[in-house]
């Protein structure tokens, strides 16, 4: 099997406890099929996702990083997702600036009722990551 065939993007997903985690759960109990490329990590709020999480995930070999939380206005902590939106916008810009494909980082709003949307977000992300190939730029060399 050639490299391109065997390549499956590995996505680290930081999902907010109150919306997207529940949305992902709903996708599961609704038996909606979506690619198994995602490693979900539950966080209390997208507002708590430090830029270090994103950088660290890339360093440890993630091909893509997804941050997903409540829609604007729906945050359990009132404004966490607004703060995340601003902060993570800067992260995305910075990644693009130094020449790491900004498409490797994605953010989405998925509520607890949007199981189908969560599946779609993952499907889209995996398809968008495939042409980019494995992320080798900032992956730590462990050889």
């Amino acid at each position: 099997m050639s490299d391109t065939q065997s390549y499956e993007p590995r996505i680290v997903a930081f999902l907010c406890k109150w919306c997207t985690s529940a949305g992902a759960d709903l996708a599961g109990v609704s038996r909606i099929q979506y690619p198994a490329n995602v490693t979900p990590i539950q966080v209390m709020c997208t507002g708590g996702v430090s830029p270090m999480y994103v950088l660290s995930a890339l360093r440890k070999g993630a091909d893509g990083v997804l941050v997903s939380g409540c829609h604007p206005g729906d945050c359990h902590y009132i404004e966490g997702n607004y703060l995340a939106r601003r902060k993570l916008h800067l992260v995305k810009e910075l990644l693009g600036f130094v020449g790491v494909e900004p498409d490797r980082f994605r953010m989405s709003w998925v509520s607890a009722a949007e199981g189908a949307k969560f599946a779609q977000v993952v499907r889209d992300f995996v398809e968008d990551l495939r042409p980019l190939g494995p992320q080798e730029k900032v992956k730590a060399d462990r050889s």
């Binding site: 360093r59 130094v98 060399d141």
Partner: protein, 344 residues
């Protein structure tokens, strides 16, 4: 133009009257023409103060160091400490006060205007003079006058050997001050703001990565950029990850599985992590004093990263670092119309 005597008088008066406990300024250094930072605490020492185009240092770093020293000695100073501040130094004081590191009453700002002629870039000067090391430098209108080792004087147009950040500086006058000396030439940028950044961004993504890969690869992780930055005042830096309580009962597994966000080794991936983390931590705080870039022993263009964040903050969020003491910081505030279309 500022007369050096005015600065000395101001410092001497304040010390003599007991209004401040010390004055942070510059004195003649031991390294060629370069001025060096000094803390004086007696009126007669004021005569040693200097003000010339070699006063590159952002002295607010020494405010931070002073605060740390005071805390370490368990002292609560009653008198403020005075600082001689250029436009950029005054802005960094504002950020420090905005973050409640200082109260406004803790410091006394003696503002000095660069009057748009800024400070010398030693690397540019070395090129301009063909490696000859001048013994002193002085402001003269829009020129610098440097004295060469043989005693002769040479006049150089300031904009040819000025530090890049000064070329792009729109605010050479210290807006936040207790007293200010010199002429206000705010808005007189010699180059468009973010000119270097705009030039850099014309390259393709692959070219940019090639460039940064080369830069990050060269980083020796000496942490000079962190040491010289007045905004890097955390007692414990996330990069160090040395502070783990190790008791006799701590198992090897616990030691091995502690979180290391960034390894200390200078591999590309970890250098990338370090510089990106630093840029993020300085987003909305960096006031572009350019000290990190000046002290970098391997000439990594760190200002580009910080400039990128600064421009993003200005254009996307209407945020100006170092503009107001009372306002919220960039990442602790938001507006309803922040850009959100990139979110799926």
């Amino acid at each position: 133009m500022i007369k050096i005597q005015d600065i000395r008088d101001a410092a001497r008066d304040m010390l003599a009257k007991g209004e401040v406990r010390a004055v942070i300024g510059w004195q003649r250094g031991s390294r060629g023409m370069a001025a060096e930072p000094v803390v004086i605490n007696a009126p007669e020492q004021a005569d040693g103060l200097v003000w010339d185009p070699t006063c590159y240092h952002n002295l607010s770093l020494y405010l931070v160091n002073d605060k740390k020293a005071q805390a370490h000695a368990k002292q609560k100073p009653t008198l403020p400490i005075a600082i001689i501040a250029k436009g950029c130094d005054a802005r960094s004081c504002v950020v420090l006060m905005q973050e409640n590191y200082f109260r406004r009453d803790d410091i006394y700002i003696i503002g000095v205007s660069c009057e748009g002629t800024g400070v010398i870039d030693e690397r540019k000067l070395a090129v301009a003079l063909g490696g000859v090391k001048p013994t002193s430098a002085a402001f003269d209108g829009d020129d610098y006058v440097v004295t060469l080792p043989d005693g002769s004087e040479k006049r150089l147009p300031a904009r040819e050997v000025m530090a890049d950040r000064c070329l792009e500086c729109r605010e050479p006058f210290p807006k936040e001050n207790n007293i200010a000396l010199g002429e206000d030439k705010t808005g007189r940028a010699l180059e468009a703001p973010f000119a270097a950044l705009a030039r850099f961004e014309q390259q393709s993504e692959a070219e940019r990565w090639n460039y940064w890969q080369r830069q990050f690869d060269r980083c020796i992780r000496c942490f000079a950029c962190r040491s010289v930055c007045p905004m890097c005042f955390c007692d414990e830096c996330v990069v160090d990850s040395i502070e783990m309580k190790v008791a006799p009962t701590t198992s090897a597994e616990e030691k091995a599985s502690r979180v290391r966000w960034i390894e200390r080794s200078n591999t590309l991936a970890d250098n990338f992590g370090y510089h990106m983390t630093r840029a993020m931590h300085l987003a909305g705080r960096c006031i572009d004093c350019g000290e990190c870039e000046r002290v970098c022993p391997v000439n990594i263009p760190l200002r580009l990263l910080n400039n990128k964040m600064e421009r993003e903050a200005r254009e996307q969020f209407g945020y100006e670092p170092g503009a107001s003491i009372g306002g919220p910081s960039l990442v602790s505030s938001f507006r309803d119309d922040d850009p959100g279309t990139w979110i799926r």
